[in-house]
Amino acid sequence: MAEITREKKPLKSLVPAPAAGIISLIVPGLGQVLGGKVQRGLILLGSFISIIGLLGWRIHTLAHREPDAWAKFVKALDRRPVFILVVLLFIVFLWLWNARDAYKQVKEKKRGNPIVFVIILAAFFTLGLQISQVDIVKMFVELPDAWPPLSRVLWPWEAAITHETDEIGASAEILIGCDNTPPAIPVEVEGEPYIMADPTCGELSTLDENNKVIKGSTITLTGRGFAPDTETLIFWQDSLGNEFRPRQDGKYVSVMTDSKGEFIFDLVMPYRLIPPSARGDQIHQVSARQVTETGVISASDPLKLTIGRMIETIFMGMMATFFGIIFSIPISFLAARNLMSGSWLTMTIYFVTRTILNIVRSIEPLIWALIAVVWVGLGPFAGIIALTLHSVAALGKLYSEAIESIDPGPIEAIQATGANKLQTIMFAVVPQMIPPFVSFSIYRWDINVRMSTVIGLVGGGGIGFLLVQYIRLLDYKAAGIAVWFIAITVAILDYVSSEIRNRFV
């Protein structure tokens, strides 16, 4: 038996072997071309030119401010010596090897040695490392930086709940300036927190012309009836009702209660600008408050928002699938070859429909979402439009293929019983179509919910919208909650849709 060989007989060499080597030394690859290995020579030449060109481009980007080529090279060499030297080494090596290769190829007429292509690949790999800014060292050195966000995303559940707090407190009035009658000390009620100031009037801290604080009067605060051994926060309210926490030595003022729930300490009256238009007695208020967790747990805002948006996302996917099915069913009939092969007119409709479907399908839903956001504004409706367009195209194609693959046998058999057109469709066509239709539709719903999480990133509503906000706010725990919900929903949906498909097919 004759041996089957796909290899073409090598062309006869036009030049002797040493000449081929020298020619390749002048123009890489030309020696091989003249030696009859046209493809090999062209690949060599192309690679050689690309490598030099890419190196030149990188040198230019590394030192684009330098005026001339030499200065650029020196600057670039200074910035990335290893990269440039390695690539140069490859070029020189490739150049010499290519000459040797040309010589050998012509002389020995053997199948090509692949080493030269390994060198080319290695050169491209080196270039690729630099062009795509791969930095392995950084990857390992800065690995710990990944941990804070990652840990928060992986286990965000502390942020899913909030503890309800209980606040107790008491306040006392202070008059600014002791010219008029100072307010009386508050009346103490048994069993309730109580605070009194002594004296109940004084001067606020002020600023001099150098913005240095001139301390105001010192008042003694005495508290009773608070929770024992608990931090108590001090608040100050000015005569307009604006409240703030006074600071002393740069720290917010707070005090620990003793074992009886009492405290006593001195407070320098804080700085507060009294507007010149203020009339009458300036009565300020000082208060002490204790905040304790009551142990009652409730869902946090991120959790509530995430659940709401997740529901929105699932329904976005559902609505898009629903609209997609409605529009794609009639379109799928136009895109089914077996139905449309009747005349040139129907074939034209078939080709036009198919082309449009292919174009719409090849545009990512993300792009459609960008367009839809401009069209109907931010929100889930834009996402639904984007997903619907994509679903119509994808389902139209799948449905039409299902129509194309129906078995004509049952149609023939039902017709032979004397059934009319409608009966034939209901008994022979529909039963064959339902399983693939259901299967594709469920699958599409699955895809649409998954996609609608992404659509939100560009403003198409749903959980993606929330997720991208949390990421931008660096609130990784809240983002983690959203990520978890997406993962759980997709997993459940995956399972449910495959179950339904198994039942129907």
């Binding site: 049952p410 058999a413 017709q415 032979a416 019983t417 004397g418 059934a419 009319n420 399983p435």
Partner: protein, 265 residues
């Protein structure tokens, strides 16, 4: 009861499947059509109930010319003619019962049938038809869960539901194990003899032809090349058989004893 005169069929691609076919069928006959694949057997059978539109010629069914029938009349004629197919042509994903009931589509109210509503009498008839072919217990299974032999029995039950005067059987046993061929053809013979249903059946194996046919016509390249009665067939030699089938034909034995094949459940 059926007269076929100068029947001709040329397909769109120019293939002349039937050139000039004329023959008569008497009531109660078991007429077997033999011939190679591509000789025009399937085309001939499908022209009779116009699953394929004949190009020329007359098909007279009880005085009516089928090629000229209007759609409503055609449906009326079709429901009197049952058909059995080589590949069974069941709706695979529907239940056996639905497949059998679909044989009634020519009789029932089209609107209620679309919703799969059939009169109770039809359901009883369907169970009776399944009983006749011995697969009552399979009624609620999906058609594609059945074996080939069982599926063809469903096909027969479906044809039976039409209360047919005639049954067209297009290679009913060609895709079945030879052992099963006798079972299936046995049912056809039973219907032919007990219910007086005329049968036109295309077959491949000479043994089966000799066993079941009351009359035979042989087709070759769209022409009738052989006509014979039951006695003629029983005397038929391999040489005559080869004349119809061409050189490559073999006398394939399909007797139950000759084949130690797997029986069908």
């Amino acid at each position: 009861m059926l007269e076929i005169k100068n029947l001709k069929k040329i397909y769109d691609d120019g293939t002349e499947a039937l050139k000039d076919v004329s023959f008569d069928v008497e009531e109660g006959e078991f007429l077997v059509v033999i011939g190679l694949s591509g000789s025009g057997k399937s085309t001939l059978l499908r022209c009779i109930n116009r699953l394929i539109e004949p190009t020329e010629g007359k098909i007279i069914w009880n005085g009516r010319n089928i090629p000229e029938a209007e759609p409503a009349e055609l449906r009326n004629i079709r429901r009197q003619i049952g058909m059995i197919f080589q590949h069974f042509n069941l709706v695979k994903r529907s239940s056996v019962l639905t497949n059998v009931l679909s044989g009634r589509l020519g009789y029932v109210n089209p609107w209620s049938s679309v919703l799969h509503r059939f009169p109770e009498s039809d359901r009883k008839q369907a169970m009776a038809a399944l009983e006749r072919v011995g697969i009552t217990d399979q009624a609620n299974k999906r058609a594609d869960e059945l074996s080939g032999g069982q599926q063809q029995r469903v096909g027969i039950a479906r044809a039976l539901m039409q209360d047919p005067k005639m049954i067209l059987a297009d290679e009913p046993v060609a895709s079945l194990d030879p052992v099963l061929a006798h079972t299936i053809l046995g049912y056809l013979e039973q219907m032919n003899q007990e219910l007086g249903i005329t049968v036109i059946c295309s077959l491949h194996y000479l043994d089966l032809v000799q066993r079941y046919a009351t009359r035979v016509i042989g087709l070759r390249d769209g022409n009738i090349v052989y006509r014979g009665t039951q006695e003629d067939i029983n005397r038929m030699t391999d040489e005559e058989f080869k004349e119809i089938y061409g050189e490559e034909a073999e006398r394939v034995s399909a007797g139950p004893k000759a084949k130690e094949g797997t029986a069908d459940g």
